[in-house]
Structures are given as structure tokens and as C-alpha cells.
């Protein structure tokens, strides 16, 4: 079965199910990062009001809260559709992981509902009803609630990439949670959370800069735009640098638990020590990949062929070849089938224990038992390679962008930038700020492409490939809902952009 499913979408249900899930997740992720990013900016604006009691800051906070509200309303429940898709298109997967996946998602739902519904209401309705301190706390807690929601979703996602804290129960055919803390505080989840949330702040900052640039270009709301740009530039620069640091940490996690993903990101077929990081094909920064993966310029990084054929890890242990993993996976599957049959027939406990022992010792390679050709475990290399470069390249661009804005707005160094006034720049400067919004989204979605394409063909790393996880549903019915979603999502996105643009054109409402 082909795993190069990005371009070759045919009539089979698995390809449509994957395409539909990707469409829904990408659409959902248009709203989430802006929510997380704007929450920080509006929180800072309101903190300025709380400290100065200058009504300008209250009006500014209310303006960004209004845009936050539009985005928040449009994003509500778009993630729920993913859960519907689990139950219909990915039922084998849902059952196989249900006990573990259900807990973080349930907590996310409860926390999101109670925290966000309470504090969002106070934030919008409570300006004249509650004390300034309580209102400020509610504004920050609205953002914190959204961030905590993101935490649980990312815990669930991280578990699929690095399944920990679980044990497979052959009687129920489910992975059952044995350690909630191992799942909730998985190092992979922590790295993923930090990188994802911090990168979301970049989108918030870029959005605020873009809206402010539009006002400056139109010579209106000058003070709001200037002060907002100052805040967004600081948030954006801190977030861009933070995304680079947390990205480095994420890369190290990936190198340890998903070496194939890292090899695909680099299109590295033959690995070794002292590996360079490719900027573009054929141009490498010496030793940089080894450092990125291992924190050691001489560190060993396995390539795709090394992983396929087996290699010696830096700690001296041997990583089995994919062929060996396939054999062990087949043993687990056969033992599981034999165990279930024997149990039905009332076999003696000694025989059942023998099967259980075989299942347990090979379960970590269970999914490999379904792999017919070892090359099927290689993810689409070109997608990973370029998506990673787009993400990192744009990330570097944002560091430069925010550093320049910060320098211009604060006129530092003074001798060089004294003559620049951010309110009277030529229009093309403002257009650059506006056009960076789509680039910020492209960077963010590229990050998810790396994360999700890089783990193909696994829905659960090494345990369940996509073609086993998918339900036995008609490809036509999944294709039908794919196009239904495409229509609905496009319509809703047009509505959101329309409302957002109207509110931006309308501008802030000044209370004085």
C-alpha cells in the first residue's frame, strides 16, 4: 500500500479519511493560534490600563478583545468535528486508544467550557460590573483557559507520536492508561506544547502589527496602531526567539522517539556522526544537524536507510531493522489472535500466559506486523523536507522582522534611526506588515505538516498504521463529507474574514 498519499488521493476510504482529517485540522488551526496570540496582546493592553488608568489603554484592550471575540466565535466547535471523524472514519483507532485519548479530551472539554465561558463573559460583559482587578484577571484567565485547552489537545497528539503510560489489554482490545502523569507530563507533550503555544503568539503579534500597519497606511488610529505595534513587536520577538529555542528542544525529542521523522525532515538517507543541516538541497551548515538532534556537534544521526536496516544508537544499544520489527509485529498479532481464540475455547492459564508474554514483549512493534514492504514506513520525504524549511525559514524572517520593528519604534540605535517615524513611512513598509499574516499561517501550518506527515504511516507510533486504524467505510461517503466540509469551511472562513475586516474598518470605540 502506498504511503505517498499527499498527491495520490484515490477513491479508497483511507485516503479520503486522511484528507478530511487534514482539512478539518488545518481549518481548526486557523483560529486556535490567533486566539492564543491575541489573548496575550489584549492582556498586556488591559494591564497597561490597570496600571495607568489611561482610558486609551482600555479602548485599545477593548478593540483587540472585539477582534479576539470574532475569531473565538468562528473557531468554537470546529475541533469537535475531529472527534466525530474519529468515531466514524477512524473507529478501529478510536477503540484501540479510547481509554487514553478520552481522558485528555474530556478534561479539555470541561476546562474549556467552564473557564472560557465564565471568564469570557466577565471580559465582555463585566467592564462596568466588576472591579478593574477582577476584570484584568478574567482577561488573562480567558487566555489561560484557551492555553490549558491547547495543553490537553497536545497531550493527546503527543501520545500518538510517543505512546507512554499505557498497557494493551488483549481482552478489551484497548490500550489502557496505567499512569495519568506519564501521559499528561510526557516530555514529548511538554516540548510540543511549548513550541506550539509560543509559535501561536507569533501569529497574534503578526496579526496586530498587520492591523496597525493598515491604520497607519490610512492615517487613522495612529496612537492605537503605534502603541499596539510596540507591544506586538516585543511579544513577536520574544515568541520568535522562544519558538526557535523550543523548536530545538522539539527536534531533540523527535530525534529520540521518531528518528525516521527527523531523517525525512532532512532527506537524510545515509546518516552518521557530524551531520550537517541542509539549508536547501546540496547546501549544508556543517555539524548543525548533529547539534540540533543531539546537542553535540559530533552526535550520530541515523538516516532513512540506517533506520530501515538497523543501527547502533549512541548509547551502544542496537535499534532493530524494520524487517526484524515486522517479524516481531507479526508475532504480536498472531499471539493476540491465538490468545483470543484460546480464551474463547477455555484453554488452560499456562497457554494463555504464554501468548500474553509474546504479546507484551512484541507489542511496541505491533503495527509493523501489518507492513508488507519496509519502505512503507518511510514518510513522504519531500513534504517533510520543504515544510520544515518553510517553517524554519519563516521563523527566522519573523525574528528579523520583529527586531527591525522594535528598533524603528524605539529608535534604537538612535543615531541610525532618529529620522524614521513609524507613522509616516512609505506605504510599501505597511504592506510588508500586512502581507506577513498569510506567511505566519503558512509557517504555523507547515509545522503541523512536519509533525503529522513525519509520523506517517502511523496513527500511533509503531503500533497502528493508518490502513488498520481506518473504518471499513465507503470511500464515496467520506469523499462526500470531505467536499461538504470544504464548502462549509470556506463559507465560514469568508464570513469570519468579512466580519473581521468590517470591525477593523470600523475601528475602536472611544469611550471619551
Amino acid at each position: 500500500m502506498t504511503t505517498d498519499l499527499f498527491l495520490n488521493i484515490d477513491a479508497s476510504s483511507i485516503n479520503w479519511a486522511r484528507a478530511q482529517f487534514a482539512l478539518t485540522a488545518i481549518y481548526h488551526w486557523l483560529f486556535v493560534p490567533l486566539t492564543l496570540g491575541l489573548a496575550v496582546i489584549m492582556g498586556i493592553c488591559e494591564t497597561c490600563w490597570y496600571r495607568t488608568r489611561d482610558t486609551f489603554w482600555r479602548d485599545t484592550a477593548q478593540f483587540w478583545q472585539k477582534l479576539f471575540g470574532v475569531n473565538f466565535a468562528m473557531g468554537i466547535a470546529t475541533g469537535i468535528i475531529l472527534e466525530f471523524e474519529f468515531g466514524t472514519n477512524w473507529s478501529n483507532y478510536s477503540w484501540f486508544v479510547g481509554d487514553i485519548f478520552g481522558a485528555p479530551l474530556a478534561i479539555e472539554g470541561i476546562v474549556a467550557f467552564f473557564m472560557e465561558s465564565t471568564f469570557v463573559a466577565v471580559m465582555y460583559f463585566g467592564w462596568k460590573k466588576v472591579s478593574p482587578g477582577f476584570h484584568l484577571a478574567s482577561t488573562w484567565l480567558t487566555g489561560l483557559g484557551a492555553t490549558i485547552s491547547a495543553w490537553w489537545i497536545l497531550v493527546a497528539n503527543a501520545w500518538m507520536q510517543y505512546p507512554v503510560g499505557c498497557a494493551f489489554n488483549p481482552d478489551t482490545m484497548r490500550n489502557e492508561m496505567v499512569s495519568f502523569l506519564d501521559v499528561a507530563l510526557s516530555p514529548f507533550a511538554i516540548d510540543k506544547f511549548c513550541h506550539t503555544v509560543i509559535s501561536a503568539w507569533i501569529i497574534g503579534a503578526v496579526f496586530v502589527v498587520a492591523v496597525s500597519c493598515w491604520y497607519l497606511m490610512k492615517k487613522r488610529e495612529t496612537k492605537l496602531a503605534t502603541e499596539s505595534i510596540k507591544i506586538a513587536a516585543i511579544v513577536g520577538l520574544v515568541a520568535s526567539l522562544g519558538a526557535a529555542m523550543t523548536g530545538h528542544k522539539s527536534a531533540q525529542s523527535v530525534s529520540q522517539v521518531q528518528p525516521m521523522k527527523l531523517a525525512a525532515m532532512e532527506a537524510l538517507y545515509e546518516g552518521g556522526p557530524e551531520q550537517g543541516l541542509a539549508i536547501i538541497p546540496g547546501v549544508k551548515v556543517p555539524y548543525a544537524l548533529s547539534f540540533m538532534a543531539t546537542n553535540d556537534f559530533a552526535g550520530y544521526v541515523p538516516g532513512i536507510n540506517d533506520i530501515l536496516n538497523g543501527y547502533a544508537k549512541s548509547d551502544g544499544t542496537l535499534e532493530p531493522s524494520v524487517d526484524e520489527k515486522i517479524q516481531r509485529g507479526k508475532q504480536a498479532i498472531t499471539a493476540l489472535a491465538d490468545y483470543r481464540k484460546a480464551k474463547k475455547e477455555g484453554a488452560n492459564p499456562a497457554l494463555l500466559n504464554e501468548y500474553l508474554s509474546t504479546i507484551n514483549s512484541n507489542m511496541k512493534y505491533f503495527g509493523y506486523g501489518y507492513v508488507k514492504d519496509k519502505n512503507d514506513v518511510v514518510p513522504p520525504v519531500w513534504v517533510n523536507f520543504w515544510a520544515f524549511r518553510i517553517m524554519v525559514g519563516l521563523g527566522c524572517l519573523f525574528i528579523l522582522f520583529f527586531a527591525v520593528i522594535l528598533a524603528v519604534t524605539y529608535k534604537f540605535p538612535k543615531a541610525l534611526l532618529q529620522k524614521y517615524d513609524i507613522t509616516t513611512l512609505p506605504d510599501w513598509h505597511y504592506w510588508v506588515g500586512i502581507l506577513l499574516v498569510p506567511l505566519a499561517y503558512i509557517a504555523s501550518e507547515s509545522g503541523w505538516l512536519v509533525a503529522e506527515f513525519g509520523r506517517q504511516p502511523w496513527t500511533i507510533q509503531d503500533m497502528l498504521p493508518t490502513w488498520v486504524a481506518v473504518s471499513d467505510v465507503e470511500g464515496f461517503s467520506v469523499a462526500l463529507t470531505f467536499f461538504l466540509f470544504l464548502f462549509l469551511f470556506t463559507l465560514m472562513l469568508c464570513v469570519e474574514i468579512n466580519i473581521l475586516l468590517k470591525q477593523i474598518k470600523k475601528g475602536p470605540e472611544y469611550n471619551n
Binding site: G69, A73, I80, G87, W95, F96, A121, R174, I333
Partner: protein, 72 residues
């Protein structure tokens, strides 16, 4: 009800807030339409629970075992 009562103040926060909404009315209308489409149309007609539809109650694990183990 005593206007200093906490429950009254919470009630007043929401009622007064909803009454004085402007943009919020549009957003709520969109949210409700969206929730109707998601939970009533999509969930009921397009996204049934596959296992519940195909397996008897209590036999879900057997159904999934058949689905998974037969694919080798």
C-alpha cells in the same frame, strides 16, 4: 432579590451583557447556526458511531478484533 447578592450580580452580568450586545448578536447567531449544523446535521446524518452501528452491545472488542486481526 438583594442587588448585592452574588447570585443576582452573576445573573445581572449575563442578562445585561446579552441585552447590550451589538456585534455579539451576530456572532451568537453564527455560533448557534454552526452548532446546529455540526450537532444536528453532521453528527446525525453523516457521522454515526461506526462501531455502535456494526457491533452488538458488549461485542465491540470482538468486532474491533475481527477488523484489526483480519488485516494482516
Amino acid at each position: 432579590m438583594n442587588r448585592k447578592n452574588v447570585l443576582y450580580r452573576i445573573y445581572d452580568l449575563y442578562v445585561d451583557g446579552f441585552r447590550s450586545m451589538t456585534l455579539g448578536r451576530t456572532l451568537w447567531a453564527i455560533i448557534l447556526i454552526k452548532l446546529f449544523i455540526i450537532f444536528v446535521i453532521l453528527k446525525l446524518f453523516f457521522f454515526p458511531n461506526f462501531i455502535k452501528e456494526h457491533a452488538a452491545e458488549g461485542e465491540e472488542s470482538e468486532f474491533v478484533a475481527t477488523q484489526i486481526l483480519n488485516q494482516q
